[in-house]
């Protein structure tokens, strides 16, 4: 369980050592390596017809629409505790080749994006742009432990605590 957890959480770091731009297993039940072409879409737009410019400019959840019409929710990129929106947004409405893990559990299917390549002839890149953008926005600070120093996180935890209940604190050991 611990191995699975840390592989899944820190997959980016493990993959960083790999030479090939190809998906690596994270040890999650129901995972399967997948590489496919698909169009980057704003999921709310795809479902409801409410379609702002540029897929909502990074504020909406994005997905991948295959040629067969299958809509895939992208829930994760390679950065720890981060999703895939910032890796997909530059390709809104365009076709990419996505590489990562299709994870199918009894709850639902979702996709962890590890690499992406714009079609028809773009270059492969890691799905770690959330972390890169976070670093840029935080004076070049490394993003590996971003969640420990992120101002939004600190503000929320200060207001309501680690349990979400003001005043309820972890017991002292």
């Amino acid at each position: 369980m611990k191995r699975t957890l840390f592989t899944a959480l820190l997959g980016a770091g493990l993959i960083a050592g790999a030479a090939a731009m190809a998906a690596e297993e994270w040890g999650i039940d129901g995972e399967k390596k997948a590489r496919f072409k698909a169009k980057v879409v704003d999921i709310a737009c795809e479902l409801t017809g409410d379609c702002p410019a540029n897929c909502g400019a990074g504020k909406r959840q994005l997905g991948l629409l295959t040629g067969e019409g299958k809509l895939i929710l992208v829930a994760k990129n390679q950065d720890i505790f981060a999703g895939g929106v910032e890796d997909l947004l530059p390709f809104c409405g365009k076709e990419i080749t996505a590489d990562g893990l299709m994870i199918t559990t009894p709850h639902m299917p979702l996709f962890a994006l590890q690499f992406k390549k714009p079609e028809p002839d773009g270059k492969w890149s890691r799905a770690n742009w959330w972390g890169k953008n976070w670093s840029k926005a935080n004076g070049g600070k490394k993003s590996g432990q971003w969640f420990k120093s992120d101002a939004r996180v600190l503000k929320e935890l200060k207001a309501r605590g680690v349990f979400g209940i003001p005043g309820l604190k972890p017991p002292k050991e």
Binding site: D29, T48, L110, F163
Partner: protein, 146 residues
């Protein structure tokens, strides 16, 4: 005048065409009421850690700020991925959504079922009981402890 009418008609036709395209992409929605806990979709679905209640609250905040989709774990056991809340489609790292992680809520909304995923457009948050699922005594603080 004739030219203006022509362009007006053309613009209208294009507008209708665009509307029709958007509408054709739209799937039928079901009106639903969902009661459940606001959760981090990734940790819960993959089961890489215990991902409910106070034990997972801090991690849920991290993941919501990191832009991972937020869902409601319904009392029916289903996961409902939130795409809009009361007209606001800003669901990526939205402070309003970060703030209600782990809350038990009752919502009204439109459900879109597509390729095995339940997507929810929340039209109204009818009730918000705050954080009531106290799991930290049993599960500690996920995933790293204190």
């Amino acid at each position: 005048m004739k030219r203006a009418s022509f362009f007006h008609a053309l613009a209208l036709a294009i507008g209708l065409s665009v509307t029709a395209t958007a509408a054709s992409a739209a799937a039928p929605a079901k009106r639903v009421q969902v009661t459940g806990e606001i959760i981090d979709t990734w940790c819960y679905v993959t089961e890489i850690m215990y991902a409910e209640g106070t034990a997972h609250h801090q991690c849920a905040v991290w993941c919501a700020v990191g832009g991972i989709p937020v869902s409601i774990l319904g009392s029916d056991g289903k996961v409902y991925v939130i795409l809009k809340v009361e007209g606001d489609a800003d669901t990526v790292a939205n402070p309003k959504i970060v703030k209600i992680q782990t809350h038990k809520v009752s919502v009204d909304g439109d459900l879109y079922e597509r390729d095995g995923v339940n997507y929810l457009i929340v039209s109204q948050v009818a009730d918000d009981k705050g954080v009531v699922n106290l799991t930290h005594e049993e599960y500690g603080i996920q995933p790293f402890g204190k």
